[in-house]
């Protein structure tokens, strides 16, 4: 596909969570690894919002950090606009970095409290040498205006703003290097609902205005439903399902997706019958063998306990579940 902006293939990241060397020797323990992201592949098209959802420990943020180049993958490749991201080459990464930006969850932690708002927003412009002199000041004023603050706010410090306003500043900073792609890691989960609505609406307006592509990371399915075109569902570092947003909510293929949808409290009071959800997310250091979801799955079959399911094409995406493979010839080792 020519309109693919970002393509992730086989993205894997291990973290070494072993005890210190001496303890390992004395207690005869092996090294331990946590697989935060396990062979994750997806494509994001230009101008769309792709969302990654999952519960804590599903690897959402790890994937986001690898995509913006803050964390090096253990295996797999990331292609941005056709070019493979080369973590070894500083110059190549720098050229790419101008084109993508990130918005973080906590606007109280992501803005330097000792810097004035104007300097915070101007930093990417200065770093990439996009403008000089008085031009920078004008651009900062314009960006503040775009996100719904006033140009005079540039002289203030972050503590003078509320949570929602700070998130607007973070968005202005992300826009300042004129990126094409923005990774939003839980952009509204630290905010109250009425402020969340303001920020979500702003993000949509900006997308229309600047033709931005978003990767939205969230645990809130309603936010994801509202914002995205396509959705990837993560469970314990594995991508269990990818589908168009509408399709995912009306016709979930993977049992985990169905369980997540059932767990969302129903505001419409439709009296919809909910399947009771059981169990909790297992420890990612020792995920269950086979399909990681099998201990909680209502449709578990013998092969789920042994063989890790492969992604199978569905109507609008893929899903990794043995149920869907029934009838199709079984490819892998039996």
């Amino acid at each position: 596909m020519s309109d693919t902006l970002l393509s992730v293939h086989g993205l894997t990241r291990h973290f070494d969570v072993s005890k210190p060397w001496l303890n390992r020797v004395i207690e005869r323990d092996d090294r331990q690894f946590l697989t935060a992201s396990d062979d994750v592949s997806f494509d994001i098209r230009k101008g769309e919002t792709f969302a990654l959802v999952g519960e804590s420990g599903s690897g959402k943020s790890t994937i986001a950090k690898m995509i913006v180049g803050l964390l090096e993958p253990s295996a797999g490749e990331i292609r941005f606009d056709g070019k493979v991201m080369d973590f070894a080459s500083g110059a190549a990464m720098r050229a790419l970095r101008r084109r993508f930006q990130m918005i973080f969850q906590d606007p109280f932690a992501s803005l330097n409290p000792r810097w004035r708002v104007g300097d915070i927003i101007a930093e990417p412009i200065r770093t990439f040498g996009l403008m000089r002199g008085a031009e920078i000041g004008r651009e900062v004023g314009r960006l503040l205006d775009v996100v719904g603050l006033s140009a005079a706010d540039a002289a203030k410090f972050p503590h003078e703003f509320s949570g929602g306003q700070r998130q607007r500043i973070a968005i202005a900073r992300a826009l300042s290097s004129r990126p094409e792609f923005i990774v939003c890691d839980e952009p509204t989960s630290a905010l109250d609902v009425s402020v969340q609505a303001q920020i979500l609406n702003l993000m949509r307006d900006l997308q229309d205005e600047f033709g931005l592509t978003y990767l939205l990371i969230s645990h809130d399915l309603s936010v994801v439903r509202h914002m995205s075109n396509r959705i990837g569902v993560l469970y314990l570092g594995r991508l269990v399902e990818v589908a168009d947003a509408k399709r995912l909510f009306t016709d979930p293929q993977h049992p985990y997706t169905r369980m997540l949808l059932d767990a969302v409290p129903d505001l419409a009071l439709s009296g919809r019958r909910r399947t009771p959800v059981t169990g909790e997310v297992p420890n990612p250091i020792n995920p269950p063998p086979g399909c990681a979801f099998h201990p909680r799955c209502p449709h578990v079959m013998p092969e789920c306990r042994q063989i890790q399911p492969q992604s199978i094409p569905t109507a609008t995406g893929t899903a990794a579940c043995h149920l869907l493979g029934q009838g199709a010839p079984r490819a892998q080792q039996g």
Partner: protein
Amino acid sequence: MPTPLLSVRDLVVEFPTRRGTLRALDHVSFDIAEGEVLGMVGESGAGKSLTGAAIIGLLEAPGRIAGGEVWLKGERIDNLSPEKMRRVRGRRIGMVFQDPLTSLNPLYTVAEQLIETIRTHLDLSEKDARKRAVGLLDRVGIPAAARRIDDYPHHFSGGMRQRVVIALALAAEPELVIADEPTTALDVSVQAQIIDVLKEACIERGASVMLITHDMGVIAETADRVAVLYAGRMAEIGPVRDVIQAAEHPYTSGLMGAIPTLTQTADRLTQIPGSMPRLNAIPQGCAFNPRCKHVFDRCRRDRPELIARGGGRHVACWLFDGAMEKADV
């Protein structure tokens, strides 16, 4: 009408500071009937948690109750001595806090904590208390309760810990359980389980619940009635279905429109401009007036009281003052 289990009348909570006194709760009144689940919603700083803390007598200094009354089954409890209040707390009112990791003592086993609580309030032998503790854990859905009771809190996962906290809150058969954001620290799939456990365990024992949360979805599924707080004042109170589907207060209806849902197809969310005022800058008249799209002169001048709307609904908004409509329009 029978005496409500809990009756809060004109509760005022103030924080004296160097720059003047901040009024964090301003004449809040509501009742909870026996066996009822009352949801209390509002955004950060609206005074939800403070209401719970004031009822149970756990306001942190310099916060103090500056006015109003709290009645539990016809008995006034806001002016009890600390000694007497301690006997109400845990025995008659149970409490579930947000973070199960901080509300359990990491140095004692679950058994020790449960047995201590049970024996503080009920006259039981060590052996009977333990039996009762196992029964409680079993009730809140902890598998192999008899074995796991001797584990320490860190042996349990987040969801399991919150179940232990619920068991603790129910240990002395309280008449009222105040649950302050009981599911906020948990994942969605676990949240649904905990809400079910809390609701069923309380219904079974006939305990009323005051459920404090910022999540309207949780309220919709759990509560019988809901109270909406804004800047320390009650904006609206009524049956859940009415308030959620046909909110009358402009703040509530704005809030409902601002929540994205799984079924909606609207392109944009309703947006309430601005944010909740700080306690030192609450505007004159209705606290919501600077953000309200229906604002008129009277809203800037006089503070609206709760106006009865029939069917148990009350709204603090001048739009619904019948007398006014005739006079001013």
